[in-house]
């Protein structure tokens, strides 16, 4: 029982990170029908931006809550700017072309970010400083939860509530929903669709960067290729929940995170070694697409001729 609770806590911790990243995938897909392959790399950029801010502003030497907040918000801002730049210079010029063209551009963008970082910061992992003192709190029995895990739960929850507020209670959120419903009609209604799309990229990138900084607090090894697998898993989370559906992305992220740690913890009893950890998400993806392509919370869309 103790180990089960422990696995569940660990799973939901990773799951919250997947959920944060999945939100960006789902928002961009909802608006442009584009799988933003570079989104996982924005998560990596967020972690590096956090490292840069924490070391250059001196928060690494003396950990404090203030330092953590500045690092988090700063890296979110950097990632948001980067997300907007990617949209402006890579995706906007190809938006009018076929879907395959935009997909290839996204793959190219992802490779570009990854290997620029490999070139400038070397491929080997770097360690991320602890910005807040880390303790383990014993819950009951032997299950423990660390402060960095609590931090991940709290910060991701707060960010998701803020996102929900932006999308459902503000004017720009209304515009986002209109654009995702129908881009051309939204344009005819006088919505500045280019701005709305750029804003969506900024929002999604900021959430991914928050995920990056939070992961780095929990598992302080960051490297330029860390975004590939995590990004793909977050995408799977978005598909599992129903792509384009915001609560779905959160649900999907938590489920993928839990499923993954359960396989690591208990897979050996049913003949799945823990090395299959990374394959779990893809197996889930394939099952979802075959059994319920619209995802858990999504609705089916009929193809029109």
């Amino acid at each position: 029982m103790d180990t089960f609770v422990q696995q569940l806590i660990n799973g939901l911790t990773i799951g919250s990170i997947y959920a944060l990243i999945a939100l960006g995938y789902t928002m961009v897909y909802g608006i442009l029908r584009l799988i933003n392959f570079a989104h996982g790399d924005i998560y990596m950029v967020g972690a590096y931006a956090g490292l840069f801010l924490a070391t250059s502003l001196g928060f690494a030497a003396n950990p404090s809550a203030f330092g953590f907040v500045v690092t988090l918000v700063g890296s979110m801002a950097i990632a948001a700017a980067m997300g907007m730049a990617i949209e402006r210079f890579a995706y906007r010029p190809v938006r009018k072309f076929s879907k395959m063209t935009t997909l290839i551009t996204a793959i190219g963008m992802s490779l570009l970010i990854e290997y620029l970082f490999v070139f400038f910061f070397e491929g080997k992992p770097r360690s991320f400083p602890q910005l807040l003192p880390n303790d383990n709190i014993t819950l009951f029995g032997n299950a423990t939860i660390s402060t960095s895990q609590i931090l991940i739960f709290v910060v991701s929850m707060v960010l998701m509530v803020i996102l929900q507020y932006i999308i459902y209670k503000t004017k720009i959120g209304k515009a986002m929903r209109a654009v995702s419903f129908n881009l051309n009609s939204a344009k005819l209604m006088g919505i500045n669709t280019d701005f709305v799309i750029a804003f969506t990229f900024a929002l999604g990138s900021a959430l991914a960067a928050a995920g990056g900084v939070l992961t780095a607090q929990y598992n302080p090894k960051i490297d330029p290729l860390m975004g590939i697998i995590t990004g793909l898993k977050a995408f799977v989370a978005a598909v599992l929940g129903g792509i384009g559906n915001i609560p779905g992305a959160v649900l999907g992220g938590l489920l993928i995170g839990a499923a993954e740690t359960m396989v690591v913890g208990y897979g050996s009893y049913i003949g799945i070694p823990s090395t299959y950890r990374d394959a779990v998400a893809f197996a889930i993806l394939i099952l979802v697409l075959l059994l319920r392509p619209a995802g858990l919370l999504g609705s089916n869309v009929q193809e029109k001729v």
């Binding site: 190219g108 963008m109 570009l112 394959a279 197996a283 993806l285 392509p293």
Partner: protein, 349 residues
């Protein structure tokens, strides 16, 4: 007869290859010779031509978007390597009466048969469920399958697992070149056949193709299986030339490299795929020739920027020329204008 012509062209190409092979040793071919480095490059061009043309059948001609081609290459490589490691020597000794060259060639051909078959079966298993999906979903699923294949291989201790796998070196320049030519001829003939027209109709408009009576699912799966089989062949050749296999050779980046080849060359053009394979193989070597650049304290080599430059080329191609260098035109199309006007050409061009 179109297919007769392309087979004749193929035979001529193999003859040229034979001459090139003779030039491999430094003393051969009027003493000009080709050194090891150049022959290695030619081999990798040939392997990449197989990969690019076979992926082009799926992505360029059928209009599906698979980005997991390296997975099938891995299947072919490991399946055939397991065969040659366990049975290769025994078969070679039992055939030793035919001479060493013939015996080892027969082992290689058997390995290629096994690699192609196993990769085709893998293609069938992956293709049937995933080809129900379209566009970007298909892309992600193929990527996922390729990664699952890699992780599964990584966990099989019989093929070395994480430490890598030593493979006997049965493949040489001549065989790899011959199979590159066979691949090009076979895929060219498929594309020009009735089935090829059906594939292109699926690419142009799936619903319309279905309405015209094309069995869309069957053709999609068939093209996927054929493409996977040839990816398997390239894996066999790579394994038995490189003499060492590691699952690191078949990561995402390998699949992306093949995508880059066909995208740069032009999806839906045989010539484009070959051109792309040549560019992607040679570009890193050209970058290596450039001098190191010093900025402040640090010096850097252009060769380290290989993947950055590929990524930039990919993005710029999409923005400036989304159809790639050649689009869907072929090398032979450039000679069409020289044909006599009164000569009737095919009605279905």
């Amino acid at each position: 007869m179109n297919w007769v012509k392309s087979i004749i062209v193929g035979i001529i190409a193999i003859a040229i290859l034979y001459v090139l092979n003779a030039a491999m040793s430094a003393t051969g071919f009027f003493g000009i010779g080709i050194d090891d480095y150049q022959s290695r490059l030619l081999v990798f061009i040939a392997i990449n031509v197989i990969l690019a043309t076979s992926l082009n059948l799926i992505n360029g001609f059928t209009g599906q978007f698979s980005i997991g081609h390296a997975g099938f290459m891995a299947v072919g490589a490991y399946a055939s390597a397991y065969f040659t490691v366990t049975h290769g020597k025994a078969i070679e000794t039992s055939l030793s009466g035919l001479g060493e060259t013939v015996a080892s060639s027969i082992v290689l051909l058997l390995a290629i048969g096994i690699g192609a078959l196993v990769a085709a079966i893998a293609g069938l298993i992956v293709g049937i469920p995933s080809l129900r999906l379209k566009g970007d979903y298909l892309a992600i699923v193929t990527l996922g399958f390729a990664e699952i294949i890699r992780i599964v291989i990584l966990n099989i201790d019989a093929v070395g697992g994480a430490t890598g796998y030593q493979v006997p070196g049965y493949a040489n320049f001549l065989w790899i070149g011959i199979f590159a030519i066979i691949t090009v001829v076979v895929i060219h003939n498929i594309v020009k056949s009735d089935a090829g027209r059906a594939l292109i109709s699926i690419r142009e408009d799936e619903l319309a193709a279905e309405a015209m009576g094309v069995n869309v699912t069957r053709y999609k799966v068939t093209s996927f299986v054929i493409g996977s089989a040839f990816a398997g062949v390239s894996g066999v050749l790579f394994a038995h030339y490189n003499k060492f296999l590691s699952t690191n050779d078949f990561q995402f980046i390998k699949s992306f490299e093949i995508i880059i080849m066909i995208v740069i060359g032009g999806m839906g053009s045989m010539t484009g795929a070959i051109l792309g394979a040549i560019i992607v193989t040679l570009l890193p070597e050209i970058l290596r020739l450039l001098p190191a650049i010093q900025i402040g304290e640090t010096t850097f080599q252009f060769a380290d920027l290989r993947l950055v430059i590929f990524a930039l080329i990919l993005i710029l191609t999409m923005i400036l020329r989304p159809q790639g260098i050649l689009g869907t035109t072929e090398f032979t199309d450039f000679f069409k204008r020289f044909r006599r006007a009164d000569k009737p050409t095919g009605g279905l061009e």
